[in-house]
Structure formats: structure tokens, C-alpha cells
């Protein structure tokens, strides 16, 4: 055997070892994710029935449910989406399509990059001081939704900018050359062509918001709630009719906080409740991510420049 054969052999062996190492670490990570889901299902599946969704929290583990929590999560997500999407889109469009390079836009860009790295609990502290106390929104759905909107705003902005940037400049020039104004170019062309990319980013951002716990605990979301926010114009216990937006100002809890509450309680029954709530949360998160991946996949197949 020549020395060179020896070297080649060793190289091939090295490659093989690295491949095995890479694949096994990858499988380890994905496997752990599988174990995590299996663990939740094993502990919580038996608790997951219709009654679990239609019952409020309770001192008795087997009677407790997530009614207030899932309604709270849904309403918070609504407020978050309605706040973060227009703001993030608008800011992204401005930075990508209008901003000239100067110190001011540079400042905004650095600022957004830094905001993306601020821990979520810091947003909670800011919201506690600003929204809850200074603006007197209270520990309400409005406060919670706006807090999470601030938190995901950088993600929405970055996704918007990346989607806009991927549209070739020749599309803009073609529209301008026909006499379109800047806003017409954006509304007639750039937004429709980037809709897939933007929605992928928005969906992923909302997926992150749905599992956020810490900032909502910080602003004082409650862990025990036995009522739902009043539906618009419904009759309340006080005898008054609810306004269209009364629900915005009510106390709330959300799924992750409900789960956290149960995790901290002693006893296997509450752990089972926690697992069941975690399962619901996981299904929601996985569902949202699946939608995002689906949108991205369809978009890639549709538009080729």
C-alpha cells in the first residue's frame, strides 16, 4: 500500500466520522423534540377533552380547564396582530423604499437590530411602567396585546424588508417608467409580490408571541380568572351594556401563564393539567409554523424572477 492510499483512506474515514457525528447530533435534537411532545401527550392527553376547553381554572385539578386562558390568548393575539402588522409593515416599507441613507435612518436601523435582541421580559417591564401605570391601560388585554406587539415588531419589520428587497429593481423601474408614483409602485406591485414573504414572517412572529409568558407575567396578568371578557354590547352583571371595546380593558390570563401556574402547583393532577395545556400550546405553535412553511413553499413555487 502506497503512503498516498493511506492518506486517502484516512481522509475518507474522517469524512465518515464527521457525517455520522453531524447526523447523530441532528437526530438527537429532533429526537428530543419528539420526546418532549411525547412526554406532554403521555402526561396530558387524558385530560384533553371538551370540558377542559369549556371550564375555568379551579382549585380542584380535575375540574380545572383553560377556558379563560384560550380566550385570553386568542384576544391578545388579535390585539397583537392588529397593532404589530400595520406598524411593522409601514416601518419596513419606509426603511426599504423611502429612507435615504443618512444618520437618522442609520439610527433607526441600529435601533431595530438592537430591539430584536432585547429580552422579552424587558418589554414586560417597559409595559408595566409605561402602559399599565403611566398610560393607565391597567393589567388589561390591551396592555398585554400591545406589549407582545412591541416584542414582535422587529421581526415583522425585518421580514417585510427582506421580502421587499428580494423583488428585483427592474420591477420598480418598469412601474415607475409607466408613470406610477412611489406609493402606487408599492401598493400595485411590491406589496402583492412580497405578500408571501411578509406573511411568512408575520405568522412566525405571531407564533413566537403565542408562547410568550414572561412579559405578560410582568405586566401582571392574573393566573386565576373565572370570567370571560364581555362580548361587545352584551349585558354585564352590573346591569350596564358593554361597549364595543370593553373587552380590551378587562383582566386576562393566557395559556402559557395558566400552564406555568399549574407547573408550579404540587401534585400529579396539576402536572397533568399543565401537560394538557402544554399540548394545546404546542399544537397551536406547530400549526402556526406549519402554515408559515406552507406559505413559504407555495410562494417559492409561484414567483420566479
Amino acid at each position: 500500500m502506497r503512503p498516498i492510499d493511506h492518506t486517502i483512506r484516512r481522509g475518507q474515514l474522517q469524512d465518515l466520522i464527521f457525517r455520522v457525528l453531524g447526523v447523530s447530533l441532528l437526530l438527537l435534537c429532533l429526537g428530543t423534540l419528539g420526546v418532549l411532545i411525547f412526554n406532554l401527550a403521555h402526561d396530558g392527553l387524558s385530560r384533553l377533552d371538551l370540558k377542559f376547553f369549556s371550564s375555568f381554572a379551579s382549585r380542584h385539578a380535575d375540574e380545572a380547564g383553560i377556558k379563560a386562558a384560550w380566550v385570553g390568548t386568542a384576544l391578545i393575539m388579535l390585539v397583537t396582530a392588529l397593532t404589530a402588522i400595520p406598524l411593522g409593515l409601514a416601518a419596513g416599507i419606509y426603511l426599504e423604499e423611502y429612507a435615504r441613507k443618512n444618520w437618522f435612518t442609520g439610527l433607526i436601523e441600529i435601533n431595530i437590530a438592537n430591539l430584536a435582541g432585547v429580552p422579552s421580559i424587558i418589554y414586560g417591564l417597559m409595559a408595566l411602567g409605561l402602559l399599565v401605570y403611566k398610560l393607565n391601560f391597567g393589567r388589561s388585554i390591551l396592555s398585554g396585546g400591545v406589549t407582545l406587539a412591541f416584542l414582535i415588531l422587529p421581526i415583522v419589520i425585518v421580514a417585510t424588508r427582506e421580502a421587499l428587497r428580494s423583488i428585483p429593481q427592474s420591477m420598480r423601474e418598469a412601474a415607475y417608467a409607466l408613470g406610477a408614483t412611489r406609493w402606487q409602485v408599492i401598493r400595485h406591485h411590491l406589496l402583492p409580490y412580497s405578500a408571501g414573504g411578509i406573511s411568512t414572517g408575520v405568522i412566525i412572529a405571531l407564533g413566537r408571541a403565542i408562547g410568550e409568558t414572561a412579559p405578560l407575567i410582568t405586566i401582571g396578568a392574573l393566573t386565576y380568572i373565572a370570567f370571560l371578557p364581555p362580548a361587545p354590547f352584551s349585558m354585564m352583571d352590573s346591569g350596564h351594556r358593554a361597549g364595543a371595546f370593553s373587552w380590551l380593558m378587562t383582566d386576562f390570563t393566557v395559556l402559557p401563564i395558566q400552564m406555568f401556574n399549574w407547573v408550579s402547583m404540587p401534585g400529579e393532577d396539576f402536572q397533568a393539567n399543565a401537560a394538557a395545556a402544554g399540548l394545546v400550546l404546542m399544537l397551536a405553535t406547530l400549526g402556526i409554523n406549519a402554515v408559515a412553511i406552507g406559505v413559504r413553499y407555495r410562494m417559492r413555487r409561484r414567483i420566479k424572477w
Partner: protein, 283 residues
């Protein structure tokens, strides 16, 4: 593309020659002038890309801008529809007077939007919108407030016929524009530019991304269009300039070296620099 004639059959049409006298800067204008560039300079920031250029553009004639890469020919072309306004740091000096309205295209009083509505452009690479064939052509019309279904359809058809594309696409107007071949896409872009009845159409190396057969079709089309509209074409390809244009301007390093009837430029240029470029000694 089925009915493509062989390239050999594309004999150049006899060049329309409205003037018996050679046209120089000082020559008496016999044919109506559509636009006149007067002492135009253009700056990208501090870089002067077009240097004090003056020349006329005659109505319903094809004027070609030729010259080596970086000579400023595309820059000059893009002044006509104020494309430079889209990017910061650009500056015009001098005038491009558009007749008969005598408005200065690059003047502060002219709105870039209005100028782009009056002067259309066809780009280097076909750039249809990712919309249907119909919507591509109708877009400029919609921007101008043409709303009626029947009027839109009539104008779209007219534009597609004008771009020699109608027969190929009339049964699939609702299909996406990206299903067309490169040459068809470029003719769609020409239809898009024609639909809005522009006063001038700018062609920025319209065939540089196309194969010879598609190029032949586009050249044939430009030859037809000269009867309807004033055309400016930037081209790298000197054979193309000699085939399609009535007048030719040769630019070098941002300056206009020579302007004359195409036949004169290509047979008997008066400047040695022009002669060197035409004979392929640089560029």
C-alpha cells in the same frame, strides 16, 4: 415562436431620409423636431456622466445612441423620463425641450410622473410584471384613469397588435406573463409602453438579452413603429443601429462626438474617433 422568419430574410428596410441635406447641429430643420437636448449635463453625485450634450430628435424617426460601455448613452436616455430621480444624489443641468409643448423635461417645473406618462421606456431585460398578459398592458392605462372594460380591452388589443404579439397571445390574455418566451416578453413590454400612447418611446438595449431570432423580430417591430412614434434607442450593436435608425449619435466618455444621418455616420463619418469606433478598433 412558430412563424419566425429566418434571420437572412430580415433585409434592412430602406432608411427613411426626410432630409436632402446632411443634418448637422446648425442645419436648418426641415422635419418637425420632437425633442431637443440643449447643453445637457448629468451628474451621479460628483461624477459627470453626460457632458454638455446638444442634439435634436426628430418626430417619427428612430435615433440611435451608440458608443462604448460607460460612454453615457444609457444615462442620457434615462434623462428623458427622469428615471434618475429615483436615486439620490443625481443632478441635471441644461435642458431637454419637448415639442410642441416646449416643456423642459429635466427642468424643475416638470413633474417626473408627468414626464414618465408622456415618455415610455423599454428596458434591457424583459421585465413584465408577475401578472397576466392583459394586466401588464392595461397597467399604464389604469394609472391614467382609463377604467371602462371595453375601452381597456380595445386599447390592450391595439397595443398588442402594435407590438406584433396579438396573434400569439389573444387566446391566453389571462395567463401569466412569465409563461411567454424571452422575445415575447420583450414585445409584451413594448406593448405595455405603446398602450399609453406616449410621445416618445425609449429603448435601452432592448435586444441585449435576446437570441438572434427574437432580436430580428424586435428590430422589425421598431421599423414599423417609426411611422407612429418618436423612438430613441441605445444599442451596443452597431449593425443594429445601422439597420433600424434614421439618425445616429456617437458618444464617448460622456461627450457627444458626432451626430448625423445614420447612413452618413456609418459610411463617411467626419470624426476619426467615430470612424475608429465604427470599424471596431475600440469599444
Amino acid at each position: 415562436m412558430v412563424n419566425t422568419p429566418p434571420v437572412e430574410s430580415l433585409t434592412p428596410q430602406p432608411v427613411m431620409q426626410p432630409h436632402s441635406e446632411p443634418v448637422g447641429a446648425d442645419a436648418p430643420v426641415v422635419h418637425p423636431v420632437k425633442a431637443e437636448v440643449r447643453n445637457l449635463s448629468f451628474y451621479y453625485g460628483s461624477f459627470k456622466a453626460v457632458k454638455n450634450v446638444s442634439l435634436p430628435f426628430y418626430e417619427k424617426a428612430v435615433t440611435a445612441l451608440i458608443g462604448p460601455s460607460g460612454c453615457g448613452k444609457t444615462t442620457l436616455l434615462r434623462c428623458f423620463n427622469r428615471m434618475h430621480d429615483l436615486y439620490p444624489g443625481n443632478r441635471y443641468e441644461g435642458e431637454i425641450v419637448l415639442y410642441p409643448s416646449r416643456i423642459n423635461i429635466v427642468g424643475p417645473a416638470a413633474s417626473p410622473i408627468e414626464m414618465r406618462m408622456r415618455v415610455s421606456m423599454v428596458f434591457q431585460k424583459p421585465n413584465p410584471f408577475p401578472k397576466s398578459i392583459f394586466e401588464n398592458v392595461a397597467y399604464g392605462l389604469r394609472l391614467r384613469g382609463v377604467g371602462g372594460r371595453s375601452e381597456l380591452e380595445a386599447r390592450v388589443e391595439q397595443a398588442l397588435r402594435g407590438a406584433a404579439l396579438w396573434e400569439e397571445v389573444k387566446d391566453r390574455l389571462r395567463d401569466g406573463a412569465y409563461g411567454l418566451s424571452g422575445g415575447q416578453q420583450q414585445r409584451l413590454c413594448i406593448a405595455r409602453a405603446l398602450a399609453v400612447e406616449p410621445e416618445i418611446v425609449l429603448f435601452d438595449e432592448p435586444t441585449s438579452a435576446l437570441d438572434p431570432i427574437a432580436t430580428g423580430k424586435i428590430e422589425e417591430l421598431i421599423d414599423d413603429l417609426r411611422q407612429r412614434v418618436t423612438i430613441l434607442i441605445v444599442t451596443h450593436n452597431m449593425q443594429q443601429a445601422s439597420r433600424v435608425s434614421d439618425y445616429t449619435a456617437f458618444m464617448y466618455l460622456g461627450e457627444m462626438i458626432e451626430y448625423d444621418r445614420t447612413a452618413k455616420i456609418f459610411t463617411n463619418p467626419s470624426k476619426s474617433l467615430t470612424e475608429q469606433y465604427i470599424s471596431g478598433r475600440f469599444g
